[in-house]
Amino acid sequence: MNALVNRKWKKILVIGPGPIVIAQAAEFDYSASQCLQILKEAGIKSVIINSNPATIMTDSVMADTIYMEPLTTSFLKKIVLKERPDAVLCSFGGQTALNLGKKLWDEGFWQKYQIEILGSSIETIKAAEDRMLFRDEMQRRGHPVPHSRIITHMSQVDSAIQELGLPLIIRPAYTLGGSGGGLASTVEEVKSIMERGLRLSAVNQCLLEQSIAGLKEIEFEVICDHKGNALAVCGLENLDPVGVHTGDSVVVAPIMTLSDYEVQSLRSMSLQIVRDLKIVGACNVQLAHNSKTKQSYVIEVNPRVSRSSALASKATGYPIAKVAAWVCLGKTLDEIINPITQKTCAAFEPSLDYVVMKFPRFPFDKFIEAEKKLGPQMKATGEVMSLERNFLASFLKGIRSLEQGFDHLWCAAIEAETDDGLWDHILRPTDMRWFAVAELLRRDQKSLELIAVKSMIAPYFLRELQRMVQLEVDLKSNGINKELLLEVKKRGFADSAIARFTNEAKEKISQKRIDWNIRPVIKTVDSCAAEFPAVTPYYYLSYDKESDVNLERVNKNRKRVVVLGSGPIRIGQGIEFDYSSVHALNTCRALGHETIMINNNPETCSTDFSFSDRLYFVPLDEEDVLEVLRLEKPDGVIVQLGGQTPLNLASKLERAGFHIYGTTAESIENSENRKFFEVVLTELSIRRPKAMALDRRINFATEAMDLSYPLMVRPSFVLGGRSMAIVYDQQELEEYFNSKVYFSKEAPLLLDEYIKGKEIEVDVLSDGKDIFIPGILEHIERAGVHSGDSMGMYPPKLPSTVQQEIIHIALKLCKKLNIRGLLNIQFTWKKNQLYILEVNPRASRTVPFMAKMTKIPIAEWATKLMLGEMSVSDLKRSHGLSASEFLAPTPEWVSLKLPVFSFEKLSMVDSALGPEMKSTGEVVGRGVNFPQAMAKGLMAAGVKWSYIGSVLFTIADRFKPEIIPLVKRFHALGHDLMATAGTAAFIEKETGIKVTVVPKVGEADYHLEHYLRDARIDVVINALAGGRNANSDGHLLRKLSIEMKLPCFTSLDTAEAFLEVLEHQHFSIFES
């Protein structure tokens, strides 16, 4: 087999995708990892460059050489010159990799060093991605495209609008996930979106296109080899008509509402487009189809593996990235073994015998002020996939998998809406549109026709939701009987939803179901509808009749271990947890255990069926996980590695009789129980900030509060209102009370004294008696900025006494809580006192970063500890450490973990850092010293800066004294200082340095906004009091900084770190 691969390539470079941002998430970790696996199989040396440490692709076993360096042309060139690869693959790392590959081609770099570009040529990539070239090519080849004009300058807009008519879609060229695009119905809207689009486009080019909103959106995932053999792995139908970005749409496979005639027409067109463009590898083709006139249009193609190809791979079982990698290495489709049957070849198109759906996961629970309207710009951070044997069941499973507190297509807030409110959700689509559709149908099932006409949603999908509404009516009016229960279970109703509709306890429904033997069976995803014996161990549950598999144990001595995954990627629970889950799978398999993965995120490595013995795609809720466990009867379950999702299930699973590996469910509950935990800390005499819980408002006139300001305030239950905040005085606290905050006895408001000290974080490995801390992570920003948004530094600069105390506290805690596995502890350190802020009895998001920087396989060790197969001292010994060592040896490099945000995708979201997490991803910066590491980290995070320029300060009174040292240092570097009036006066008074006053909006005709837009400011330092007032100057300033791509620091600690970079790279001069 390997003989077929071109022998001349000895070493191939793979460019990674960089940090996770909206529209470029875990799917590229999956595809790049698959690509690396193929290079290994082909016996070719691989080099990977990727700046995101929280990935499987950057694991030492994946590639021969790994560079966790910034994805910029200069670093790429440096690596290429050092490694001298024979060829490069840039179609496995998303748009980032493709853009880098293109840039170096345009510079003549690849040509100069005779490095071959594998897969599609750069000409092909340009023809597919440059909107003008693409449109021309399609027209030349006779493929229909919507009428459009290319705009490169605002002056062309008026005539274009006249020619094309409204509404129009604006699509900037070369941006991720449609950044900066939009649908516009008025001339003004066109202009404002166009202005932003031109700025965001890498080539200052936008397409102004006739709107085809409302048509069916159909996608094909195509693979084509160098001989032009092309096939469509999967056709996907978006439930949301054209207008909502496909990444934000609910998607079903296969295509359901089109006849064979239409499906084949669109398929043939897709294959022809891919051949015409001479694409080699995977390609996503997006089409619009008018079911009335039968007219179709080509929307766009993505000439690389993509989010859709990851979805199509998981939806069908066909590993697109692996096959595409072989194709890029020169194989033809018939020469590639089909890994599913292991007998047939990759030249086939999967046939599905289930309905598979994808639902987007939106970050609006975290970003409550974000614009929730959906359009051509993607807003979802992650997605889930669900499989069932009918549409409605697949739909409801998807809703449950999202983990947004919905067990059904029903939501109290939507139920409370007026009819007009519901229509608004549907006609200007929001994240709640499907809930609104269901609610309208509940109010009047006859509204179906009207919804179909107005929303352009295919009637079939609406009929299935009407079926759901009718079943709800049946449940409410008839109560429950065996026949009805079987029917609603077949249609995907959760026990808890059935309980709500029938006014029964959920336990009672579950019990009845078991009594009547209404239980799910296991069905296999085999890509061929059972036509061939498949070896894929890839399953879902269905309330059908017969199970495909026999789970009898062949070897009774072999342990059966279930690993629970982390579900959809969301702010706060990202790819880091998938990394840890995959490591648990690998560890268990290496130990010889039967290893079972349960997860529902199609983007990830953990749902690659080759990583486990059996993979189940089900919602990670109590009911579905328990059903899998009852069928599998495992020896135990690992809940510590998938983030909060599995941890929350621990006690429920244990109560149902399943063993939790490692720290017991009781200990987990205790460490998360505030009261209990306080008692423990007191007992162990560990300091923590003074705290209290409020179940009602305080009447300050009569009551005193036993805490001193500032305070960290958060509700234990967030209901569409504001959540965590720092308040500095009584007035701010009262304001907080007045905002939509919900508190009661069951869900009290939590108040902590806020100690603005140095924040420190450790991941502790424990067997309950002994511990090991791979490394101490010191945060750059002081406490108050969410740990997920702070920059972290390793090794820390802390005095050794503090490090010793940290070890001491960790040991005491782990023993007391009987931690077996991992414990994440966050400290704040102020005035030589250590306080505990928080503990989490699970893997944290810093595990992959720390594992890579300390070279301790943390997740692997944690797994061994949980399984009880090794003690901490065994592990230390295995790594050549003595029993008395508690920390890994200090490395020679300084490493920084930097957060990466997706603010440009989410309009209205305030970028100011605070106690709530906002970042979507992370990068690593490593250097010989702190400034170098910091500079690289910033570059990797995409921050661009000039060494000399002007810096704007707008600082709340509270922080003003803190900025003086920074001001002086910027001045010494030669920066021009600018500030808003108050800040300027303060600076001049304190330092005597001349400051240019920048008027706020309304203070002068030429104000802040103009300064920024005219590029008169290079760096923004904006520390404000907080508050979620979207109209404040601070908010505008931060928004504009993002638009203008300026470094904007809302924490003075980050600003100081940045200053160190500048000082390292440039000389300061002093007046003496």
Binding site: S291, D334, A347, P350, N390, A530
Partner: protein
């Protein structure tokens, strides 16, 4: 529309329970046939009306069937030939979006029952493991042993006779009458022909004469044709052995294209052998490789028999296409004469259109003669 509980009984005793949907005036209470499955995810109407499914009970592997309704333009013949349709989740309002009749409307008019709520995946696994089975559908959940006896005694017969036309039908080609492109007259031996085979020739501008399977060579010669097509059809190709000399004589005289059963018949006529596949090839995702240049494409297939590859060695036929799934013969050509045939369906409907080029190949062959 009536719905009753029902059972599908296979001749090995396995049973599958579900619901039977049938028209109000449809009195038949049991249905027998060979139970086969097709993995195409769309195209149920095209499949039901494909005469190759004569005397078969068709099980579809995609679970939700009926969503986009039915349309008179999609039928591959004048009526449904399958004896019954078996699905998992039958959708009733299909076609609403397009104001088309639903699948149940269609089935009821065609007097075929639809059996739903079957665990079709379990049925397919059974057929895959034990091979194609005869089966009987009865309107009860507790069938008597007589039903099983009946299915054991039943055997398919007169497959082609039942579906072939009884007299010749002449059809003019479509398209521009003034075009300078040559117009040919093609005879299509109807063994159960799918109308899209004839459409494919007509839309290229050629005259088509559909002839009964037992038309004599003299009658064909009288037609003064330019080319000959041996069509698809149901059943075992060896059932037609008495006619093989006629087909061979004509194939040696005129450029000939064989499709599916027609391909098997052609191979038999030239001395090869055929055999029954365990559970057949039925679906729209069958990969085929062109042997001389390695080109690969996806085809629509529907056959229970195949040509024995080895047996071709003693003939003047050579293998031109092969299946990438099981390496069975997918196409042959004659070493010296303008004769070609394919096991799959270049006319598609349903299925991928990748192999449509065979019609152009064939017509080129006709043109060279």
């Amino acid at each position: 529309m009536k719905v009753v509980d029902g059972t599908l009984i296979l001749d090995n005793g396995k049973t599958f329970q579900g619901k039977i949907w049938k028209g109000d005036h449809f009195t038949q209470k049991e249905w027998m046939g060979e139970v086969v499955f097709n993995t195409s995810m769309v195209g149920y109407q095209e499949m039901l009306t494909d005469p190759s499914y004569n005397q078969q009970i068709l099980c579809l592997t995609f679970p939700v069937i009926g969503v986009y309704g039915t349309n008179k333009n999609w039928s591959e013949s004048i009526k449904a030939h399958a004896r019954a349709l078996i699905v998992h989740d039958l959708y009733f309002n299909g076609g609403e979006e397009y104001q088309r009749p639903s699948l149940l409307d269609f089935a009821s008019k065609q007097q075929i029952p639809v059996m739903s709520d079957i665990d079709t995946r379990a049925l397919v696994l059974e057929l895959r493991k034990s091979g194609t089975r005869k089966g009987i559908i009865v309107e009860t959940l507790a069938p008597q042993s007589s039903a099983k006896t009946k299915i054991l005694e039943w055997a398919p017969r007169d497959h082609v006779q039942e579906v072939s036309v009884s007299r010749m039908i002449r059809m003019h080609g479509n398209g521009n009458k003034n075009s300078r492109d040559p117009k040919y007259r093609i005879a299509v031996y109807d063994f159960g022909v799918k109308s899209h085979i004839m459409e494919s020739l007509k839309e290229r501008g050629h005259e088509v004469i559909q002839v009964p399977y037992n038309t004599s060579k003299e009658d064909i010669l009288d037609l003064e044709i330019d080319g000959l097509v041996l069509s698809n059809g149901p059943g075992d190709p060896t059932d037609l052995k008495e006619h093989l000399p006629t087909y061979k004589f004509l194939a040696e005289k005129f450029p000939t294209l064989g499709i599916c059963l027609g391909h098997q018949i052609l191979c038999l006529a030239f001395g090869a052998k055929t055999y029954k596949l365990s559970f057949g090839h039925r679906g729209g995702n069958h990969p085929v490789r062109q042997i001389d240049n390695g080109r690969v494409f996806l085809t629509s297939q529907n056959h229970g028999y195949a040509v024995d590859r080895k047996s071709l060695d003693v003939t003047d036929l050579i293998v031109t296409y092969e299946s990438l799934n099981d390496f069975t013969v997918e196409g042959v050509k004659h070493k010296f004469l303008p004769i070609m045939s394919v096991q799959y369906h270049p006319e598609h409907n349903p299925g991928p259109r990748d192999s449509e080029f065979h019609f152009d190949q064939f017509l080129q062959m006709v043109g060279k003669k």
